[in-house]
């Protein structure tokens, strides 16, 4: 019998970075101002793909779901193996009172998003996911049990995070509701974060932020399946 085809990045990436989004991280931005926006998806300094977001008062869309992995590294299509998204696939629409969700559905990730007005006279950056502020959100999902260090790299804020071990097999485990953390100039609130595995963690950034979560020590447990140690 064949084995499951599981994206290796799902379990290989222990840490998260709001400025380099991976499969377990996402950023939420509220566009606010109507207009045509041009977005760039970057991995490091390289632009991987350009997309357009129309912030339109007539748009019925409350939440534009923008999958960075699908745009930057789309699956092969047809016999020609063409990988490029169509024009329609690179255009998004959202109501000014709605939200844009930037997430990564698979692959290695490491993306950041830069969003600015498409009008050439108005080229001031309006959103950069490497610098969250004004209530923008970074959400994370941490699967591996252990102890983590959380930091806002635009300041000195630090927090301690632990992820518990999952219960027994076939127990029908469902993670609790996500935990919300506020990031302010003064630091993280709360500063001690206790999570269950796969439980959502939502950072609301009220100060310039780039949230980085790093594994300090993995919890292998007494009867684990031989998980990897932290690096």
């Amino acid at each position: 019998m064949s084995k499951l085809d599981i994206d290796p990045n799902l379990f290989a990436q222990s840490g998260l970075d709001s400025g380099a989004l991976t499969i377990l991280g996402a950023v939420v931005h509220r566009p606010g101002e109507p207009g045509e926006y041009r977005g760039t998806i970057r991995r490091g300094k390289d632009i991987e793909r350009v997309f357009y977001l129309s912030v339109d008062p007539d748009s019925p869309v409350a939440a534009a779901d923008i999958d960075l992995a699908r745009l930057a590294d789309p699956p092969a299509r047809g016999d020609a193996g063409c990988c490029c998204p169509t024009a329609d696939e690179t255009r998004f629409s959202v109501n000014p009172r709605g939200y844009a969700l930037f997430r990564v559905s698979g692959g290695k990730g490491g993306y950041s998003v830069n969003l600015r007005r498409a009008d050439p006279r108005e080229d001031t950056p309006v959103f950069n996911s490497t610098l969250l502020d004004d209530g923008q959100i970074f959400s994370a999902r941490i699967l591996r049990p252990g102890r983590y260090r959380v930091a806002n790299t635009h300041g000195r804020a630090r927090a301690a995070l632990t992820v518990a071990r999952p219960p027994a097999p076939f127990s029908g485990y469902r993670p609790p509701e996500p935990l919300r953390v506020t990031v302010t100039e003064g630091g993280f609130e709360p500063e001690r974060i206790d999570l269950h595995p796969a439980q959502g963690l939502i950072f609301e950034c009220r100060t310039p932020s780039r949230i980085v979560i790093e594994l300090e020590r993995a919890d292998e447990g007494a009867a684990g399946h031989g998980g990897q140690t932290a690096r």
Partner: protein
């Protein structure tokens, strides 16, 4: 009055029935898809036991005939809906659920559960039949041949008397509860086997923890309302129609494949020596039963 009468007591008839019953073997393989799952099987079976009663209304009643499944290999395959790492809501919608949320991550794949049910015994509760005499002309016989030439060519005409079932009642295949338990264990094993060996231990632990008890998985995927053994019983008997297949095979066997009595026509009575055999044509063959015996009558043509 008939020229020829041959009678066999009920006891003798039972012996002939034993011969015919023992001649029954059946094997088949097939597969089918039923919406969320597919199943394939390979079977071989024979018949044992059975009581025979002759009735004055001309019927033969066979009861409690055992179906012995020498081979019954069943494989159930389904798309395991899998491991779901649940998403969560980031920005709730005050009016309707969630405005912005992280979607679930689904990991699934096909799994197959091989189940060896060989050795099971089920029952044909009743066969009600009448005797039927049939005249069979060998299809390979040339029209110009005399009876003697047909005999020498190995293609003589035959009289055959069959137990011709009017109905065959096959009981459901009773699946013991242990098979249900075994099935669940095999599903557990198959799910574990689905996970790649390279997966870290914590990932396996998490994924397995996310699963509901296997019986619920099975019930959900396979649309099982009762016990797993009831599901297997229904799958074999109804969905894969093994009961119907047995019914047809047994009816065919008795009605047209293995006669209880057969002989050449014309029938050779003097065969010794260098001369051609003396063959006697038999006509108007009839077979019937009373509560005491089987009676075959015929005329000399």
């Amino acid at each position: 009055m008939s020229h020829l009468t041959i009678a066999a007591s009920e006891n003798a008839f039972r012996q002939i029935f034993t011969l015919v019953r023992n001649g029954f073997t059946f094997a088949k393989s097939d597969s089918a898809t039923f919406g969320p799952f597919s199943a394939s099987y390979s079977l071989a079976l024979h018949l044992e036991k059975g009581t025979v009663q002759l009735n004055n209304d001309g019927t033969v009643e066979i009861k409690a005939l055992d179906v012995v499944w020498d081979t019954l290999l069943l494989k159930v395959c389904f798309d395991f809906p899998g491991f779901t790492i649940p998403g969560f809501c980031i920005i709730p919608d005050p009016w309707n659920g969630c405005l912005v949320g992280i979607p679930d991550i689904h990991i699934g794949g096909p799994i197959c559960i091989p189940l060896n049910l060989s050795g099971l015994v089920s029952e044909i509760s009743e066969v009600r039949a009448r005797l039927k005499a049939r005249y069979v002309v060998d299809p390979g016989r040339l029209p110009t041949w005399t009876d003697l030439e047909a005999e020498f060519a190995g293609k003589p005409n035959m009289w055959k008397i069959f137990i011709d079932p009017e109905f065959v009642s096959v009981d459901p295949i009773d699946i013991p509860a242990t098979v249900g338990n075994l099935f669940e264990t095999l599903v557990e094993q198959a799910i574990e086997d689905l996970l790649p060996g390279s997966l870290p231990g914590f990932a396996k632990d998490l994924l397995m923890a996310l699963l509901t008890p296997v019986v619920e998985i099975v019930k959900g995927v396979l649309d099982v309302f009762d016990s797993v053994e009831d599901f297997i019983q229904d799958l074999l008997g109804d969905k894969l129609d093994l009961l119907g297949i047995i019914q047809t095979a047994v009816a065919d066997h008795f009605a047209s494949k293995v006669p209880i009595y057969e002989f050449e026509d014309p029938y050779p009575i003097l065969t010794d020596g260098p001369l051609i055999p003396v063959k006697i044509p038999l006509r108007n063959l009839k077979a019937d039963v009373t509560s005491q015996e089987m009676i075959v009558t015929g005329d000399i043509g």
